[in-house]
């Protein structure tokens, strides 16, 4: 592959290798992943006004301005789905129906390197996985929502070169470019009416795979240390659209009736690659935080984040083949709303080498009730975090987060849309580890 916009292929190659691990169940509101550094994670991401480790490249580029020595960090967040269930409601799939998602174990990684060039100019390179999604249902060929989605997976990771400028001893700004590489996979079954039994059977399974494609954006941040005890931070990461091309493929499912199988084979372009394209509009995100040290060892930070999810209006699936290798285009409406979340974190320096952290986040869902669906069932979440940091010749951070989603019920449809009603119940547990050297 050729060079693109100054980002070297070797870095992209590393990013691809890391990114292979990056598909995750949704665990931040929408499909954003705010856990991009374990020190921050211990404080539930209330880190914009501290940004005092290499993960500042994600949380607030302004923090890069204050770096005094070369540091590298590498880490991951282990995400374990504890519960992801659907309890149906009438009229469809009906009262008493239950289904489960496959319990996922994923390891979105992060890596940072920061280095001062002069006393006022600093550089950094971050590799982050700020968006990701896997929703996969057990027993896909029996799942009642299989004609909407059996599996949806999105991987996105950012290569984030950043420049920091320490304007004054207590005011710094940072600016970075983002090269995002992302791929997407969608699977569902195709229904047919069996005219012998006048009931619905599976005609085929459809798999759509969009290859890794790029999109570009930027981030910027300001960190202001108003007093030795009070810091204020402001950070922004821009929206990025990724246009994917790829192929879809229909694999037939035998209906048990040879005549019906023949009729289906005549009607659908089975077992052949159907060129397809789609797009995902990733949102922009802004964070504002205030951190206050009550004592030299005890600090509290409060943050508010805003995410521009209203740019996620739909997922268009456009077939670009000819008459014999296309299906009708589909548009999956989403119509998400901008959403806020609120974070509160505290850290306590117990000893020169030990720091304890606690945090809480309330994360609003951007998804309106009428589009809650098996492809992406989202909800408001509460996140409860505890973290520990060790400082020696190198640093190690650990954090644990319990993330129960509010039960999310859908009992209404958008005009022209049909029912797929019920309550989704989701819980996850996250474990973060980051080493800094």
């Amino acid at each position: 592959m050729q060079r693109r916009g100054g980002v070297t292929w070797r870095v992209l190659g590393v990013a691809v290798a890391l990114g292979a691990l990056a598909a995750v169940p949704m665990h931040a509101a929408g499909f954003s992943i705010f856990e991009q550094g374990t020190k921050a994670m211990g404080m539930a991401g209330a880190f914009t006004a501290q940004a005092d480790d290499p993960s500042a490249l994600f949380y607030n580029a302004g923090g890069l301005a204050f770096v005094t020595q070369g540091d590298g960090s590498i880490g991951f967040t282990y995400i374990k789905g504890l519960k992801a269930e659907l309890h149906g409601a009438d009229p469809f799939p009906g009262e008493g129906y239950t289904a489960k998602q496959k319990k996922l174990s994923e390891f979105p990684p992060h890596a940072y390197y920061v280095h001062p060039i002069t006393s006022t100019w600093k550089v950094g390179l971050g590799i982050e996985t700020p968006f990701g999604l896997t929703t996969e249902w057990e027993n896909p060929n029996q799942f009642a929502g299989r004609f909407l989605s059996t599996k949806a997976a999105l991987r996105a990771f950012d290569v984030n070169p950043t420049l920091g400028w320490q304007v004054t001893p207590n005011f710094g700004i940072g600016f970075g470019g983002i090269a995002r590489i992302s791929d997407v996979e969608l699977r569902r079954n195709i229904p047919a009416n069996n005219p012998f039994t006048q009931s619905i059977v599976d005609a085929a399974s459809l798999r759509l795979k969009g290859d890794f494609k790029e999109g570009y954006g930027f981030n910027a941040g300001i960190l202001y240390k108003a007093t030795p005890d009070l810091s204020i931070g402001l950070s922004y990461r821009s929206k990025i659209t990724v246009d994917y091309t790829g192929d879809a493929r229909l694999t037939p499912i035998s209906t048990g009736n040879a005549q019906l199988d023949a009729a289906i084979a005549a009607a659908l372009p089975l077992n052949t690659d159907l060129p397809v394209k789609t797009s995902i509009h990733f949102p922009d995100e802004a964070s504002f935080g205030i951190a206050y040290s009550f004592t030299p060892n005890f600090l509290i930070e409060a943050d508010a984040n805003w995410t521009g999810w209203s740019s996620f209006k739909d997922v268009p699936i456009i077939f670009t083949g000819g008459a014999t290798n296309s299906l009708p285009n589909v548009d999956l409406p989403q119509n998400w709303k901008d959403a806020n979340n609120y974070r509160l974190g505290l850290r306590w320096q117990a000893s020169p080498t030990s720091q304890w952290r606690l945090g809480y986040v309330y994360d609003e869902t951007p998804q309106p009730e009428v589009v809650v669906n098996p492809l992406l069932p989202d909800s408001d979440r509460n996140g409860y975090c505890i973290g520990y940091g060790y400082t020696g010749t190198w640093k190690a951070d650990f954090a644990l987060m319990y993330l129960p989603f509010k039960d999310r019920t859908r009992n209404h449809s958008a005009p022209g849309d049909g029912p797929f009603f019920g309550t989704y119940k989701t819980d996850a547990l996250l474990l973060g580890v980051t080493l800094t050297f």
């Binding site: 149906g88 009438d90 009229p91 469809f92 799939p93 009906g94 009262e95 008493g96 129906y97 009642a144 929502g145 299989r146 004609f147 909407l148 569902r188 229904p191 047919a192 009416n193 005219p195 012998f196 039994t197 006048q198 009931s199 619905i200 009736n257 005549q259 019906l260 023949a262 009729a263 022209g416 849309d417 049909g418 029912p419 797929f420």
Partner: protein, 454 residues
């Protein structure tokens, strides 16, 4: 005085809460009045397998009523229910058995809760007492007791009545390929108002269904007006053009419809010129609903629906817009959990093998339409029917008694065996003369002759 004020307001609160529990309708005694659509008629038959999930039976379950009584007929039903005997290369539909079922609830010592009589018109509800031919099922339901459908239904002192009548006044004419059998609007109105008045006088709350557009049922819309490619049912391209079939007034024009029962005529080459391998004999009047007939039927349906709407408003009845629902089914389709149901014959999932009456899914969908309309009108919270078992059904295929048919059919994209065709048309109330293809046509205005294509 203080104490009596408190108890008076407590009493008022108690009444308010009791009212809220019912909304503003009492479903404890529910009676259904109507025609074959209300009886649970499907695939040309009255058959308990389908009557048990007629929309009134489903409503009764959702209302919390047990022991809802219907005039059940054991499988394979009367007449024997149609089955799909073959799908490829050409779908063949014929009776599933040689002999029909038997009534199993004839000795119920009171009128049925579902009083619907297949073939009934608005006037029949008020006046008809017994069957008028050997194939008329009225006696099955009214049992020669000497009382009309309306009288028997109201004798049960219902608290809630659904009324879906008028389909046969319009569609009965359409399925016979004519506009000559349409009930005049004035008599429709007088009879409809009389029925509504009688139900209102009994104190029951009401829900009325309106009449679907004739062009939304596959019986009318499935076959093309062009000579079809028998393998696909689509118009055949002959020397670069589509060639219209020969109808009773000449080549079929845009807006003319070919009814599903034309397949037996197409199978012997009627409607197809000799030069193209047919018999040169035009399709009969009874299998063509031409553009002006269709327009007249639609106009009459709209007139009926205006009356039904007006009476519903005057009587405070819920109006169930079956017309809009079937139009949606015929145009955009209806989505259920990613499955799109349409009115397409055999493929769409909503219509049974007779092209007029719904499948089990279709009836469950209709029941939810009634429930939504009732809840909206009366402020009640009746739960919708769970559609899951109707969507995915049972795995038992319909029985397949092999009927004989002529394999060398020309230009017939579907085949209804002759017995199936006759039984179906009788069950739709089509007069025998139309079934035989010998009705006296009304004088027709002369039409200019158009070219073969379009």
């Amino acid at each position: 005085m203080h104490r009596s004020k408190i108890s008076a307001s407590l009493l008022a609160l108690a009444f308010l809460m009791a009212g809220a529990a019912f909304g503003q309708a009492d479903f404890s005694k529910y009676v259904a009045l109507g025609d074959s659509l209300t009886a649970g008629f499907s695939s040309g038959s009255i058959n308990a397998n389908f009557q048990n999930s007629s929309y009134p039976a489903l409503l009764a379950k959702q209302f919390g009523i047990s022991g809802f009584q219907q005039p059940l007929v054991s499988p394979p039903g009367l007449p024997p229910i149609l089955a799909l005997q073959r799908l490829v290369p050409t779908p063949v539909i014929g009776p599933s058995a040689a002999t029909g079922g038997v009534p199993t609830n004839l000795t119920l010592p009171r009128p049925y809760d579902n009083m619907a009589v297949p073939g009934a018109t608005v006037h029949d509800l008020l006046t008809k007492l017994r069957s008028t031919s050997a194939t008329d099922p009225t006696d099955l339901i009214l049992r020669q007791l000497g009382f009309t459908q309306l009288a028997q239904g109201l004798s049960l002192h219902p608290t809630f009545v659904t009324l879906w009548i008028g389909n046969n006044d319009a569609l009965g004419s359409a399925t016979a390929g004519t506009d000559q059998l349409l009930t005049p609007t004035a008599s429709f109105e007088a009879d409809y108002r009389a029925i509504a008045g009688a139900i209102a006088a009994s104190g029951a709350k009401m829900a009325f269904g309106n009449i679907p557009d004739v062009t939304t049922i596959p019986f009318v819309t499935t076959l093309t007006r062009f000579i079809p490619n028998p393998a696909t049912g689509q118009p055949a391209v002959i020397a670069g053009n589509f060639v219209p079939l020969l109808g009773p007034d000449g080549p079929l024009q845009p807006g003319d419809f070919v009814l599903l029962t034309a397949t037996s005529e197409l199978a012997v080459g009627r409607g197809i010129p000799v030069a193209l391998g047919g018999s040169g004999v035009p399709l009969s009047n009874s299998v063509v609903l031409n553009a002006s007939e269709a327009a007249n039927v639609r106009a009459r349906v709209n007139a009926y629906n205006a009356i039904i709407q007006a009476v519903a408003n005057e009587r405070g009845a819920a109006l169930v817009d079956a017309n809009a629902a079937l139009t949606e089914l015929a145009t955009t389709g209806v989505d259920i959990g990613g499955i799109t149901y349409t009115s397409a014959f055999l493929k769409g999932g909503a219509f049974s093998y007779d092209g007029v009456h719904p499948t089990k899914f279709g009836y469950a969908f209709l029941a939810n339409l009634f429930i939504d309309s009732i809840n909206k009108k009366f402020g009640t919270t009746v739960g919708e029917v769970n559609l899951f078992p109707f969507v995915f059904g049972s795995s038992s295929a319909s029985s397949s008694a092999q009927a004989s048919f002529n394999e060398s059919e020309i230009g017939a994209p579907f085949v209804f065996t002759e017995e199936a065709r006759v039984n179906l048309l009788r069950s739709l109330g089509v007069p025998q003369a139309y079934i035989d293809g010998t009705p006296t046509p009304a004088p027709r205005p002369r039409r200019p002759v158009h070219g073969p294509h379009r």
